[in-house]
């Protein structure tokens, strides 16, 4: 009666996830038994875990194309690339957040444990080969993030944000699950590869397929924060502690890209013409709403939240073509965008101190006088987010636009370019504050340990370098799909 098809899984193929899980448990236990008030052991172990994860992922999964755990796990270059992105972004997030969390009395061991579990969930999502593992990965990520948003439990704003995030997120998960159950009902399998094969030879069951597809698209759009499923984004970005916002704005976006690609981009590629229009609609709405509302924001976190829609619009545009080049453009865009935004949040965290958030845009006034280095970093970040030629943001936008035009959506490309021009206004406003305005009173000083400042500076400069030499990263992204 034992299933004859079962082969003992090759655990080595899933080593990154196994490593992360094991180390997350180690962090948990170590933190439980350590008396360090700053949770130093947990912090260092976490960073070692993430760095180790990067090394393991590169060495065991890049260039591989295999499945294990009876097809529920896929080890391939795309997964490896996204995982590396997630791990790096999480590393940055933890590196920037220690002082901030300590000052607010929310530096708990749980921050590291839940953070690691969220990262694990993202990694599971991006290398899922089966609807079950895909869904569980998304849930693991979301659950950890809900709890992280509420980690400052004495703050009513954070609790409210967590509540909104949780309720809407649960709704989205329900949608996703409902759509998946449709697919399962039609095809009788949970394996994504088999679903793709079934989607290729549709007959009269097409109708049911589309029904499931709509629900899944809604669920994925929620996780992306694409308009019109974006209601949670501004409140969560604003209400959550900044380091958690960083995690949601960066790593979880990369994971959402993975979710889309595994489930729809690759899983339902034969249905391209059906979902293409949905994605176009999401992208257009995201571009419109993102740019117009971001213009009037005075809070940096809220501004970044609304401008996120703009970038989500670009990422979605890359999917529209349904070609490897388009997907590579999206992945490139998502990775570079997340990397840039991580540094932006890093600057906000750098300027924050006890009892002061530094998340108002006027807090940046006169930053050049106080710290030329970080004013320069802000300059790089903002022109890159704007997409001025010569920056990495420009290459990302260019790649996406190219794929959209090739797919025949010239009007969409034009709309996106207009959006980018509008975006220039609110991004470059920050640069103006840094360089040309005087601070009112003292103005917040950059505070933070040497390590923090060094990593942040490196992050900013790497954005610059990536803009000057984008070729390698572009090649890597393309290689992940070919």
């Amino acid at each position: 009666m034992t299933n004859e098809a079962f082969e003992t899984p090759n655990l080595l193929l899933a080593l990154p996830e196994i490593w992360l899980l094991a180390m997350a448990c180690v962090v948990l236990v170590v933190d439980l038994f350590s008396n360090d008030r700053d949770h130093g052991p947990a912090f260092w172990l976490t960073q070692v875990t993430l760095l180790g994860g990067i090394i393991i992922t590169v060495s065991t999964q890049w260039g591989v194309d295999a499945t294990t755990f009876s097809g529920t796990y896929v080890a391939d270059s795309l997964g490896a690339l996204l995982k590396i992105g997630i791990l790096v972004l999480a590393f940055l997030g933890f590196a920037y957040s220690r002082d901030y969390m300590r000052d607010r009395g929310i530096l708990k061991g749980e921050y590291y444990m839940l953070g690691l579990f969220a990262v694990l969930g993202m990694m599971v999502t991006v290398s899922a080969g089966n609807l079950l593992s895909l869904y569980l990965g998304v849930e693991l990520m979301s659950l950890s993030l809900y709890a992280l948003v509420a980690i400052d439990r004495d703050s009513s704003r954070a609790s409210e944000a967590a509540m909104k995030y949780f309720v809407l997120g649960a709704l989205a998960s329900g949608m996703l699950l409902y759509g998946m159950s449709m697919l399962y009902g039609v095809t009788g399998t949970l394996d994504l590869g088999e679903i793709t094969a079934a989607a290729a030879e549709l007959d009269d069951r097409r109708f049911l397929f589309l029904f499931g597809l709509v629900f899944m698209m809604v669920g994925v759009a929620f996780k992306f924060g694409a308009v019109p499923f974006h209601m949670w984004v501004p409140d969560v970005y604003h209400g959550a502690p900044t380091p958690v916002t960083l995690m949601i704005a960066t790593a979880s976006k990369v994971a959402a890209v993975g979710l889309f690609l595994r489930l729809i981009g690759e899983g339902l590629l034969p249905l391209l013409e059906s979902w293409q229009h949905m994605v176009v609609l999401l992208a257009v709405l995201s571009l419109l709403i993102g740019n117009t509302v971001a213009l009037v924001q005075t809070n940096i976190k809220r501004m970044l939240a609304y401008s996120t829609f703009n970038h989500v619009g670009f990422i979605l545009m890359g999917f529209v073509a349904g070609t490897p080049e388009g997907y590579a453009a999206s992945v490139f865009y998502a990775l570079t965008y997340a990397f840039t935004v991580a540094a932006t949040f890093g600057v906000v965290l750098l300027l924050a101190r006890k009892g002061f958030e530094a998340d108002h845009i006027t807090d940046l006034k006169g930053l050049n006088d106080r710290s030329p280095l970080f004013a320069f970093v802000v300059l790089i970040l903002m022109i890159s987010l704007t997409g001025i030629p010569g920056t990495v943001g420009f290459y990302a936008k260019w790649m996406v636009l190219k794929s959209v035009v090739e797919a025949g959506f010239v009007w969409l490309a034009v709309l996106a370019v207009i959006g980018a021009v509008v975006g220039a206004f609110y991004y470059l406003r920050l640069v103006r504050y840094c360089y040309f305005d005087k601070a009112e009173g003292e103005g917040p000083q950059p505070t933070g340990s040497g390590g923090f400042q060094a990593v942040l500076a490196a992050n900013g400069l790497l954005v610059l370098v990536a803009g000057i030499f984008p070729g390698t990263l572009v090649a890597v992204c393309l290689a992940a799909f070919l």
Binding site: M1, L21, F33
Partner: protein, 118 residues
């Protein structure tokens, strides 16, 4: 298989029926002489003050949440216990990992003092 469940369904209905019958008998046979004193909630002879539906220690909720988690764990253990001799060492190891992960959770509860009542 289904015909085995019919008696169960009937048994549940009969079980409810016994309750209804007894309760009805009590209403029919027993006297009904309500008075304000008799109907007021018991409070050691005091007049009732404040609503009895008070807020409880959050610990009760915590116990309920932890109960759900462990109940699920038991639900996962049931099929495993039945097929233990068929799934061999691999099945044994997979449950070992499952339990180990949750035991870490249990250790966490313990150390954090979630299991302590004062």
């Amino acid at each position: 298989m289904l015909e085995n469940y019919l008696p169960i369904l009937l048994f549940i209905i009969v079980g409810l029926g016994v309750g209804v019958v007894l309760l009805a008998a009590g209403f029919i046979l027993g006297p009904r002489k309500p008075s304000e004193e008799k109907l007021s909630p018991y409070e050691c002879g005091f007049e009732a003050f404040e609503d009895s539906r008070m807020r409880f220690d959050v610990r009760y909720y915590l116990v309920a949440i932890l109960f759900i988690i462990f109940d699920l764990e038991i639900a996962f253990l049931f099929p495993w216990a039945i097929v233990l001799d068929e799934i061999g060492l691999f099945g044994f190891a997979s449950m070992g990992v499952f339990l180990a992960i949750l035991l870490i959770g249990f250790l966490y509860e313990w150390k954090k003092g979630a299991l302590e009542w004062e």
